[in-house]
Each structure stands twice: as C-alpha cells, then as structure tokens.
C-alpha cells in the first residue's frame, strides 16, 4: 500500500524553524512505522535522523509522536494508521535533530529517585527470600523501558518541565514496593514536593502512551497513598 509520511524536520545547524516534509512510501500493511521511516532514510532522504535499535519494543529508542499519540515507531503497524502518517519528535524535550531529542533531563530525573536497591545489611550467601506475592506487588513497574512516552504525553509536564514526571515515579514505585528495599523514605522525600508526585492531575495520558502496558496512574496513586497514609 502507498502511504504519505509527513515528518516534522529540524536541523538546528541549518534551519531556523522546524518544517514539515512529506514522503510517499510503498509499504506492506504489516510493516512498522519504523520500516517506513527507514525507507525514507535509505531511499528518499538520507539526511533524516531518528533513533532506533532493537526494533521490537524493548530497547526504548524510538518513542515519538505518531498521528498525535506517543508510540514506539517499531510497535505500530502501518495498517493501524491508514494512508496518512504524521510523525513528530516527543514534546517537551529540546530537539537535537529531526526526531532525535535530548533526553539528559529525563535521565537526570530518573537518577534523582535513586533507582537502585537500597539495602545495607550484608547479603545472605544465597538469595534474599521474597514470596511470589511480594514479587507480584511491583511486577508492573519493572517493565519500564525508559522510552519517555509517558512523561512527554503528560500535560502537567508540558506546563512545567521541572515536574519529575510519570517515568521517574514509576521507577520509584518499582523499588518502594520491593520487599527487599529499605530506601522508601529517601525516595518518598524526593517525590513529596509540588514538582514531585503531587503535580500529577490523574489525566491518564501516560497510561494510554505506555508501550509496555504499565498502569502508570495506578502506580502514581499507590505512591501518593504511601505518602498520605505511610502505608509501608
């Protein structure tokens, strides 16, 4: 099938303003949007830039705004989108070039919530024991691939870029509710601010955006509850 791929282009070394470029691409219905972008790159316009690596939704490189929604380009099939495909960079991050955005700020927020197991007692010779139920408690948030689809879909983040954002909260949740972890208080202190978890207005865009199917708003609500009721 023939589709029109419309891409928001911007090369700060050359362009004053971002602009739209359109490309006609022949694709199979089962091709991914990534395949269409690669077709453009390899056969129509070699100057196009985007990130990609694993091409099956695990590495988290190719989150972008596709027909108005944050998706991974490798996880959306062309047939879902019809004959017109619009692709833009994630919102709220500085654009390096075309679909490539600067994610340093995003990773700084991830680092801020201390995303590592905090447990200073000497470990046993074998494993820390954890029951299947305890393990299940934080399973959903272990799936995060840090693609930033959630954070950059969030109107609270668009309104104030200093908001720590859903991805960082999801990763805090992953440790706060891990029975082996002893760092909940440190993390909750980071999140218990106006730019932390309270900035979330439960708009649910993040849930819709997450390519891993994480119930992001629920995780955020659980962190809020932990703060309100010290339920840990």
């Amino acid at each position: 099938m023939r589709v029109m791929v419309k891409i928001k282009r911007f090369n700060p070394g050359r362009d004053r303003e971002p602009y739209w470029a359109e490309y006609e691409v022949d694709v199979e219905p089962v091709d991914r949007v990534l395949d269409a972008l690669e077709y453009v790159k390899w056969h129509l316009d070699g100057t196009l830039a985007f990130r990609r690596s694993c091409a099956h939704g695990i590495c988290g490189s190719d989150a972008m705004l596709i027909n108005g929604r944050n998706r991974l380009a490798c996880k959306v099939l062309v047939k879902e989108l019809g004959a017109r495909i619009t692709v833009e960079p994630l919102r709220g991050f500085p654009v390096i070039k075309d679909l490539v955005v600067d994610m340093e700020g995003f990773f700084a927020k991830y680092r801020a919530i201390k995303p590592y197991l905090i447990h200073d007692e000497p470990p046993p010779e074998t494993e820390w024991r954890q029951s299947p139920e305890e393990r299940a408690r934080f399973d959903d948030t272990t799936k995060c691939i840090l693609c930033a689809a959630c954070t950059t879909s969030c109107p609270s983040f668009w309104a104030n870029g200093a908001y720590i954002g859903p991805a960082a909260i999801v990763n805090a949740h992953r440790f706060i509710f891990d029975s082996r972890d002893r760092g909940a208080a440190e993390r909750l202190a980071v999140l218990n601010t106006g730019l932390g978890v309270w900035r979330c207005r439960t708009i649910f865009n993040c849930v819709e955006a997450c390519p891993r199917g994480i119930d992001v708003t629920r995780a955020i609500a659980e962190v809020k509850r932990a703060l309100l009721f010290s339920s840990l």
Binding site: K41, C54, G60
Partner: protein, 577 residues
Amino acid sequence: MTTVHRYDAVIVGAGGAGLRAALEVARVTPRIAVVSKLYPIRSHTGTAQGGIGAALGNMEEDHWEWHMFDTVKGSDYLADQDAVEIMCQEAIACVYELEHWGLPFDRTPEGKIAQRRFGGHTRNFGEAPVRRACHAADRTGHMILQTLYQQCIKHEVTFFNEFHVVDLLLEDNVCRGVVALSLADGELHVFHAKAVLFATGGFGRMYKVTSNARSLTGDGVAIALRRGIPLEDMEFFQFHPTGIYKLGILISEAARGEGGILRNRQGERFMERYAPTLLDLAPRDIISRCMYTEIREGRGIDGKDYLHLDLTHLGREVIEKKLPDVTDFVRTYLGIDPIREPIPVQPTAHYAMGGIPTDVRGRVIRDEKNTPVLGFYAAGECACVSVHGANRLGTNSLVDILVFGKLAGRDMAEYLRGADFAPLPKDADGPAREECERLLTSNGSESVARLRETLQREMMDKASVFRTQEGLEAMLTTLKELKDRYRRVRIQDKGKIFNMDLQEALELGYLLDLAEVTVVSALARRESRGAHYREDFPKRDDAEWLKHTLAYRLDGEFELRYKPVVITRFQPLERKY
C-alpha cells in the same frame, strides 16, 4: 579541534559485559568512562528473554559440573574447558550478586529464584532436561541490563552516551585509548587511557533475517582486526531456531522450555525423529538444521520456508504469565493469538560464537601462544574466550557477559595499579578523521542501503546454516565486489549533527570486513562442527579440526593460524541428544 579525555580505564559498550566490568573497575578508581553509541539501557542485552543458566538447584538437583558438561557438549567440544569450568562455577555467585543488587527474579513458593528448562541443559550428563535457567518472566535480559545500569548510577560511573568508537589506539603491543565520534555534534574525541575494554556486542546485521538490533554491526571486532588483532572461530555463527517468520524477532527458547512444540506442515513433532531424548530442547544448531531439512524436503508450512511453534496446548495462564513479552510480539507483529494459533517461525541469525580472542582474565591475546596485548581487554559477544566453541547453549550468553565482564574488570583493576599512561600515537585521531572525511566527501554513486541489502541477502543464502565450498567461494567473490563498491559509496547527509548516514556507512564497513573473515574461516574448515555445517564435509573431524581458528588480516591478505582446544574433564564424544 579534537577533545582529548584522560581516564584510567575506558569501557566501550554499555551492555551487560561493559557495565559489569565497569562496576568492577569502579571499585578501584573513579576515573573510568563507559562510552556507548547508544543510551545505556538501549543495549541489546535488554532483549535477552528466557533466563540465565546457573546450577542453583532451586527446583531440582543440579551441579555446576553438569552445566559444564552440557556447555562443552553443546559447543561440539570446541570450547576451552578451563574457561567453561570457571564460567559454570562463577555463574552461581554472579546470579546471587544480581539478586542482591535487586534483580527481580521470579520466585518459587519458598521465595527462592525460580528456574526453568532450556535447550541443551540436562541433569546427570545428558539424562533429561533440568531446570537451570533463572528467569524474570521472558524479560530476564531487560532486568539484568536495568539492574547493572542502576548499580552504575549508584556508584556514579561516568557515561559518554551516543559516542561511537571508531578507532583503537594500539602501538608496540600497548593499548593507549580509543577515538570516538560524538553523534550529537559530529566531533571526534580521543580517549587516552591506561586500559580499554571492548564490550561492543555481536554482528548479526550481516544476515538478512536476524534477531539482532540495528546497532549490532560488530564495530569493536572489526576495529580490532584492522589494528592487527586476529579473530577467533569466526566461522561459527548461531542461528536461533525460532525467529518470527520474515521479521527475525526472537521467540525465546523459554517457549519450548515451558512445553512448546515445533511442528511441520503435517502437524508432526519432527524433532522426535532427530533428537529422541531432548526433542524440542535439543541445542540450537541441531534444531535449526532440522528445520531447514524439513523445509528443503517440502514439509514447511504450505510448502514455504517456515514451520510452526505450537503453544496452544499450554493454556492461557502459562502463556500470558510466563511468556508475556513473546505473546505481545506475536499479537503485535503477526496479529496471531498464540493461545489459539501456532506461530510461524524460521531460524534467525542470533549469536557470534567467534570474536576477539581473550584469555580467562579477559585479556586480548594476539597469537596462538596466548600472548596478551597490554591494557586491551574484551568481554561478551564481541570476545571469544572460548566458552561457546562451535555452538552456544541458550542462557550462556548472559552467563558469559556477567562472569567474564566481572573477571575482565577485575584484571583491569589490577593492571591499572602498575600501569601508566602510554603516550598517545602522533596524530591519534588522524586515521579516523580521514575515514570520516572520505565518506563525507565521496562523490561516488553507490548507496549504503543497497550494498547492505545485498550483503545481508547473499550471506543468508551462502554462509548461514548450510554451507558448501562452491557457495562460500561465490560469497567471497561477492564480498570483493561489495568492498570495491563500498569505496565508491556516497552519503547524502554532509552535516555534523546526528549524522546517521555517516554512522551507517562506517557500520557497513565493519560488517563487510567481518563477513569476509567469516567466509574465509568457513571455507578453510573442511568439516562440520556445531553451527558450522559443510554439506561437502558433513562429519566432524577431530583428528584434523579439533582446534581454534585465528584469522589475521595483514596488508589486506588473510592468514589463518590455529591453536589447540583446552580439554580437561570431558573427552570429545559423538554428539547425540
């Protein structure tokens, strides 16, 4: 102006091996940099699915000696047994260490790390499958990569993200650093270092159908070759039996570990005819060959070049709980529900057993006498210790990156105590600058994408699961043509900022070099062993070929030398499953 950085140690690659080594070096010095062409958690370790093998014995009796036997037998007796022994012993401590760092393994009812069956892993030296693969659903690699990166954050390791290493500074057998291209602004950076570790991963992108990420173009391996390091056992490239048809996306062996069955067009469980004991859990080289045989004999589905992986008898609970990501891939990319329908699969290029030769301390060696290169290390898929020999067992790549990442990091840390900065070569970034300039200014007419497509299609056709002298010789001719055309390649993007065009051109150069070594090594080895199957020499020939290949490229010409296999506990036997 080229920026020059100075670090005691530079680690190239931020997958499992690189990060594990970095954590070890970070114990002795804060002056360590991890340089990666990707963001850290984008590396391909994250896509490993089924599990990591270690004889914890949590579900049933198990011993590292059994793991060692399986690995040696799986390797078709080409693995060095001293190295395999270390790996299988150390695997246990490495898994517990990951758990202590927070890795969320699945749990047994008693709260221990859960384990499952995997191809080629058996109890009591081959009797029956054993539960050895420690898992976190089918996301084990994702969890390993995240856990290691998290520890790097905790220990404040310095990262240079999206810095593509394009040269190794090596003179008089002493490593002095690397040269990297910063993708964000197109500038070259020199990293002056006392020691360098390559953990740059594999090069499956030389084949058309592959499970490998776009980034797996063998950069480090090719750079080592260009700098005079021989490459070991490059003829051995693993095809994983169950890639999603046409796409190559991996369906974990865990699917068969949980009870999945391969079937041909008649619905027959054909592995019963080939491997009566282990059936669908025979090692990958064997199953991939059996699948091609079925297809060649007309028993592919609808007579086409694929077969079925049948999970329908496992039930929703097992499929969705134990294989959630795999289920998601099948639903997303095929529109098929594996609970009700079988999955179309074909072998997919998956793993390079060969690579940069190292000893068990991760030191790169330069000849058949195991002479180390001072200050140069390699670990993970880019390296060849050799623990995988002619065919790697499932789960052992994760074991390899952890054990030898750790041991290489430990040796580097020790080396740093006594070593000083060797002076940089004159015009350290000159060759890299020249190569980039040549590509940026070339007015040729060849396209990177078209050359790469030809390379991938031809390699798939002539140098994959079945090989013949005729096919390999034809491939060598094709490669000479492709390399000639590569000199006339023209890229469209002439800019500095995030120039993917330049990056892909450099990567194609690496792939062409590595394809050539693969074919030259495969042509010379006139026997069949593990993943290297010669239709014209279908038998294993221990008298002549129980030895490792070392391929040198000197002034553009290849020279093949050989070194003996280390055999300690297990004498070579005929390999039956």
